[in-house]
Amino acid sequence: MALSVKDVEHVSKLSRLSFGEDEKKEFVEKLNSVVDYIEKLEEVDVEGVKPTYHALDIKNVFREDEVKPSFKRKDILNNAPDSEGGCFRVPKVVK
């Protein structure tokens, strides 16, 4: 199914990306060539086939719940674009 400019706007909103009008048109074209291509999978009969989420059959991996040292707060906040009082700082999120 071909994507329209409107679809691109919807998906870009979900992706937290935005595009100018010209970019959107270009995106529609390039995305559609890829979408057409991946839709080739419609011809495969997958009736009764189990999905493979991982190439190896790894089940849940458990370990002992032991307390171990973790990163220092200062080292983690080092990469934060904005922080204050040991916390990440963000713009106001409640209206």
Partner: protein, 484 residues
């Protein structure tokens, strides 16, 4: 032959015989880097002073007669998507331009435990998305065989650096061919290990069910040495598999007598050039002379591998890259109005075009209403693709195909056509989908540019593919150095 042309095992022998020092090796590679880096543009970061200091420490250990491993005192490079403590790890993206990890990836620790000297971080396609290294936000790397051509990608910086003699070996990561394809296009050796053999802890995730770290090297012996250093279970990566440690050097045996090779006809079809096809069949004939036998087979779901890949990889990437929100680390826009605008502007400015395209495809294919048609269907086709391989390995020891459908392409040739670029991975993506291991080795030249042969093995049977690769290499003369 210059020092920088030597392999890891050759300089290891010189170090052990005290015919050269680690400091001298580091100096030699940095001389070489100064001479060619302007042309090749393999590196995003270099650590000369630190490397020299570490080399001095290793020289002292050699002088004291300490028992040392195969990589002790030898310059190695790593792709810039593996976290290095206190050193920028950019993924060749503006998003992570200033990101300084507070920890080392497990593979970095393992290399350093072996005494390897990490001399720098190599260029790549942004977040490992690409097949030419042209998607780097910072620079375009060039193929040392001909500077007008791409080195392949996404581990193109690692491949170019090893090929140009700027370093003795390098690590890359491979999600759909990103180690093997650049290795093929640059005429060197690259291994994509079995999914789960090498820890992904500290590898910036692209598509978590496909990503795997592996070596790029000048010959098969070096690849085995590097794989020895990085393989093994890691409690920090729950998808790494606990297994008995294997010494891959023991697989360096010059013998393929009685080996059964499957040759899937689907890998020689549309898109694969006649010259590449001819070359791979010549290589197969050589293996037959050496005692192996091959049979043409069919892996019928091969044609669905690339479309399956372009659902799975973007879906996982859109989810993995959702973490880049301008809050905890990574780029944040300078001006914004409210939290949503902060997210959107930061991501818009931080990500390049191909990364955005894949996030969009992934988000679309995971969106409600499409999930069953795309993602779930792809997961089922993945089973069929894996079953193809399982069935083939009931009868054959390994499978041989071209690594890439053609020789390297010219810089700029495919940048405007994403689908044409994706096609260069047509022979490599099925291997990641199935999670099996594969090695690419030089198999000859077309128009003066190297061509790679891909040898695919069963899950966790790296030994067989190393053995076949080693035998071919020992009995042919395709492993040559680029003259730069």
């Amino acid at each position: 032959m210059e020092i920088y042309d030597l392999t890891i095992h050759e300089v290891r022998d010189l170090l052990k015989k005290k015919k050269i020092t680690s400091v001298a090796l580091v100096e030699k590679v940095f001389e070489r880097i100064e001479a060619v880096e302007e042309d090749v543009a393999s590196f995003l970061a270099l650590y000369k002073e630190e490397a020299l200091e570490k080399a001095e420490v290793m020289d002292a250990k050699y002088a004291a007669g300490e028992p040392l491993g195969d990589l002790a005192g030898i310059p190695i490079a790593v792709k810039d998507n593996m976290c290095t403590i206190d050193k920028n790890t950019t993924c060749a993206s503006k998003m992570l331009e200033n990101f300084v990890p507070p920890y080392d990836a497990t593979v970095i620790k393992k290399l350093e435990d072996e005494g390897a000297i990490i001399i720098g971080k190599t260029n790549m396609d942004e977040f490992a998305m690409g097949s030419s290294t042209e998607n780097s936000a910072f620079q375009v790397s060039r193929n040392p065989w001909n500077l007008d051509y791409v080195p392949g990608g996404s581990s193109g910086g690692s491949a170019a650096a090893v090929t140009a003699g700027e370093v003795f070996g390098a690590l890359g990561s491979d999600t759909g061919g990103s180690i093997r394809q650049p290795a093929a296009l640059c005429g060197i050796v690259g291994i994509k290990p079995t999914y789960g053999l090498v820890s992904r802890y500290g590898l910036v995730a692209f598509a978590s069910s496909l990503d795997q770290i592996g070596p790029l090297s000048k010959d098969v012996e070096d690849a085995a040495i590097m794989l020895n250093a990085i393989a093994g279970h890691d409690e920090r990566d729950s998808t790494s598999v606990p297994k008995k440690k294997i010494n891959y050097k023991k697989a360096l045996v010059n013998d393929v007598k009685g080996m059964k090779i499957g040759v899937p006809k689907e890998y020689f079809g549309e898109g694969v050039t006649p010259k590449v096809k001819e070359l791979i069949y010549k290589a197969l004939d050589r293996l037959v002379e050496l005692g192996a036998e091959y049979e043409e087979i069919s892996l019928p779901y091969t044609e669905y591998s690339l479309p399956t890949y372009y659902i799975i990889a973007p879906a996982e990437c859109s989810s993995n890259l959702a973490r880049f929100d301008g809050i905890r680390y990574g780029h944040r826009a300078e001006t914004f109005e409210g939290i949503d605008d902060l997210y959107t502007k930061s991501r818009n400015q931080g990500f390049g075009e191909e990364v955005k395209r894949r996030i969009m495809i992934g988000t679309h294919s995971l969106a409600s209403g499409y999930y069953d048609a795309y993602y779930n269907r792809a997961m089922k086709v993945r089973t069929l693709i894996r079953d193809d391989f399982d069935k083939a390995f009931e009868k054959f020891d390994c499978i041989i195909t071209p690594t890439a459908p053609d020789k390297a392409f010219k810089i700029g040739e495919k940048t405007d056509d994403p689908l044409a670029m994706y096609m260069s991975d047509i022979c490599t993506v099925p291997i990641n989908i199935a999670g099996v291991p594969a090695i690419s080795i030089p198999a000859g030249f077309v128009d003066g540019m190297p061509i790679g042969m891909q040898i695919i093995g069963q899950h966790f049977d790296e030994e067989t593919i190393i053995k076949v690769a080693y035998t071919f290499e020992q009995n042919t003369d395709f492993n040559k150095r680029a003259t730069l």
